[in-house]
Subunit: 404 residues, 3 copies
Amino acid sequence: MSTAVIRSSSQKNKQYQPYIDAKWGLKNHWYPALFSDELKEGEFKAVTICGEPILLRRENGKLYAIEDRCCHRGVRMSKKPFSFKPCTVTCWYHGFTYNLENGRLDTILAAPNDPLIGNASIKVYPVSEKYTMIFVFVGDADYAPVPPLEHDLPPPLEKEYVNYCKNLTEDGALTVGIHRSGESNWRLAVENGFDPGHVLIHWKSPLVYAHNLAVPLGARPITDKAVSIIESDDGPIGIRNNTVADPDGTWHYDLVLENKELGVKAVGGNPMIGLRTSMWLPGVLRVENFPFQGVNLYEFYVPTHEDKYEYWELMTFDPKDEEDKKRILDQYEHYLKKAVFHEFNDDDLWARDAMQPFYQNGVGFEEEKLGEMDAIIIGWRKLVARHARGIQDAPKELNGSSKC
Amino acid sequence: MSTAVIRSSSQKNKQYQPYIDAKWGLKNHWYPALFSDELKEGEFKAVTICGEPILLRRENGKLYAIEDRCCHRGVRMSKKPFSFKPCTVTCWYHGFTYNLENGRLDTILAAPNDPLIGNASIKVYPVSEKYTMIFVFVGDADYAPVPPLEHDLPPPLEKEYVNYCKNLTEDGALTVGIHRSGESNWRLAVENGFDPGHVLIHWKSPLVYAHNLAVPLGARPITDKAVSIIESDDGPIGIRNNTVADPDGTWHYDLVLENKELGVKAVGGNPMIGLRTSMWLPGVLRVENFPFQGVNLYEFYVPTHEDKYEYWELMTFDPKDEEDKKRILDQYEHYLKKAVFHEFNDDDLWARDAMQPFYQNGVGFEEEKLGEMDAIIIGWRKLVARHARGIQDAPKELNGSSKC
Amino acid sequence: MSTAVIRSSSQKNKQYQPYIDAKWGLKNHWYPALFSDELKEGEFKAVTICGEPILLRRENGKLYAIEDRCCHRGVRMSKKPFSFKPCTVTCWYHGFTYNLENGRLDTILAAPNDPLIGNASIKVYPVSEKYTMIFVFVGDADYAPVPPLEHDLPPPLEKEYVNYCKNLTEDGALTVGIHRSGESNWRLAVENGFDPGHVLIHWKSPLVYAHNLAVPLGARPITDKAVSIIESDDGPIGIRNNTVADPDGTWHYDLVLENKELGVKAVGGNPMIGLRTSMWLPGVLRVENFPFQGVNLYEFYVPTHEDKYEYWELMTFDPKDEEDKKRILDQYEHYLKKAVFHEFNDDDLWARDAMQPFYQNGVGFEEEKLGEMDAIIIGWRKLVARHARGIQDAPKELNGSSKC
């Protein structure tokens, strides 16, 4: 063609096109890979993050994360990983042996003199074990400096804040949780997480009945401080629904307690004091004072595949002493795990999956009709577009379809 | 490229290209969605027609059909439809509430003051409950006037016609049937339905043995009146195999009773008097006087997905009185349903599925070799190309694959 | 565009691009379709080779192979093949009847006077029953002359060769085996077959323990005679690993018995005398003197679909007399079939499947990093590029996706 054909982009796409492109996630960020107790001394385990296959290894107390794909014929080493020598992994197929520190091909079992040795390598990942989890930094091999893990986690609340509760990064925090996979794109999971208008799906949750929780129909922003953007070069980037009153009693959201046209009133009698939701790059939800005061709930939505994410659900408590800790763990194990992480959150899991067909080919981002209540979702999309350290490409194995 | 590359189209494609494009069906036509007794008062039920998700509702005896996709985030409302107010459906996710009459967004449970209210809408469909079925008119939102349902159904036979039997649209008709889904494109199902050369597949049917039915090997057109085209601006459009003699005794088909080269003779001794097949837009088969004299058999092939259709099988009887009606229903329930709709028609279902791989990418339409016996199939394709009120596009969710 | 965009091809692709294009196999070659005893007198059976559906028939002791797709509506005749007349097959749908010798449409059951008769045909395939198998020549209808089957099989070893063992094509050979399907492209299966560096996967095989087989870590070519290319216009085309010493005691491979860096030594005490692997177009492996001296093991990797192949495993023995033959068959049935064809070869099947994701879109061929040990694989790829009689296209049913 001698003249260019330009598809007219809608205005919204111009505002946050990088977000629309981020089907495979944001790169150059930290993501949880496993709980600490899921990788025992001497074990190998495989995970997928942002489409990248990653092999984790704990050896002599140290953690390693390396590309789970042999450079020779591309097989996943995790299918049968060998460890013949400290700090190496040997591929089960031809014995390609990689140094876990730097990914270099150190030897080949079947060919100890091959010229490839020392001249080939696979990717290694920065890894950090903190706050009960093993985190991996997924991004460009030459990205430097690697930012601190804490830049990709919600920051602590101010101690003097009236609804303060302990953050998972703070000393003395007791954090428990589970993870499992969800069948939608990670962005739909994020957007469901802190969406103030989706409470209808939780109305019939046993948790709501059990505690007679006051669940409003919705929340309508009424001042220009309803949503806070937290952005800086030196710290976590996030966005928060200011659903609690200022110290002077000013409210920024109007809770919708009745829809007169439909004759529907909000349920429950016990207000959820201090509940505030916020979302942090690369996709971490914090719900303050939920399911009750003094507890922070977290959710991580880790991109794995274009239509799948790993769903992490955690709660952080602030036990007074060992006795209290025991009581909390007992309550978690026998009640909260099921009531919050399953019964309550299952409704969200289901809702995210329900959006996937509309969004899977990108049509949803063009045809959706967002309302006032979605202001925070638009805010989040723009925030990602401004601050994501990079947009992940589709895995190379999926890229070559037109070539052969 | 500086010069255009033009794929040479075969002659046949020029004759009925719109038909070849109609993978997702014909639009601006009436299709059966459910049997009347499948939608009870107060119920919601979802169907898919021509790739469009449709939510049906019966409320205070009135029927509604509305797009089963919330305009907000694209979810199917049918997963958990709410009805808080007469003549509305509320989406389970954020409470978007649509007027069932006109599809307008009447309110949002979570945001009763949102500016979207009154300014957004989803599609509604004309609906008609007649002849034991609920029909939906699937097409362009602004298509007007909507033609009468009877334009998309076979018309009554003339009362004085010697082989007259009652049409499903006539007073006193007793119509019974089933529907289920078939795994092929709807066009392959249609073309199997009235194809005069496929009788070999029915030879071993228990129905043929039970009644010693005379099944010819085939039927060869011998006059130019073998096939009738029924077309007008004001009524059903169809095509008919004239396999019965004219009043003066003239035959237009030569029944093939023997293939000497193969040493094969037709089976059965009892001729099927008055049997005539015809196909009507948008894809309705009538077989007159089948499985025996006085009964009309109908089949609807409703496009649902590109490789799936809803297969409707019905019979219309003409009971003399209530006693006779009871007898017919008893015979249907305990014999005809299984012998005709399952044992006999299962052979057709299987045959259609068998064509699907060859046709699914359009190759079949280019490479098939049609013979004399397929004259009526060619006739049907041209008829559709001339008279279809529109060709349905692929669903928008499938359209955006290259965009994101 | 007014200027051409040329994707820079890597050097390796230039060397064997036809091989990279051969996803659907090599055409104009002989492939095994069935074991002789899998097709009994009077039977029809269907197979798929290089994406082509083929219907086999044994009638009056003669074998026929014909396209398993009716020219009329494209259905597989094998779903219910009829035989009304000698040397014909009649399609179950409309009775299109083909001559098995030449594929010509001889009659149509339902339309004995149709002008298509005598003017349409489907493909027939040269077929040859030898060496316990039925072979089909898959390729262009007009390819001539069809080469002898033996050009597509490993040739006999020289009688005077010190490690001589009988070839499956020689008089007195006793050949037994199985076939089953594998879930990878046929090229990955071939390349696994004679790869000298993959022995690690067999270390823990019961067969190795049972016979204390000396399995080296690998084999490193040390002279320029390590790999022999056998190519001529008049006979089999192959490539061989010369892993046995010359008569003068010269070795061309250095067996790797230890990897000092990893502290790993080869296992087993009994050397496998005379073991030599070779690969022959279109994809036939011979392993001489395996699992023990005097036995030839063969594997055929028959392309069926782009991500599937038929895996044939055979052994040829040289029984002294009927008594010996009985003993061998007994040993095979109760020991070798399981120990070699399943326990040992299952490890290879698994390894091939593991390569498939990396190679399925062609990315593997661009990104793989081959070493010295892969010299024979590169040699094989170039040999195919030079000598394959043709590269098979994707099946026509898959080709039309953009047309309709």
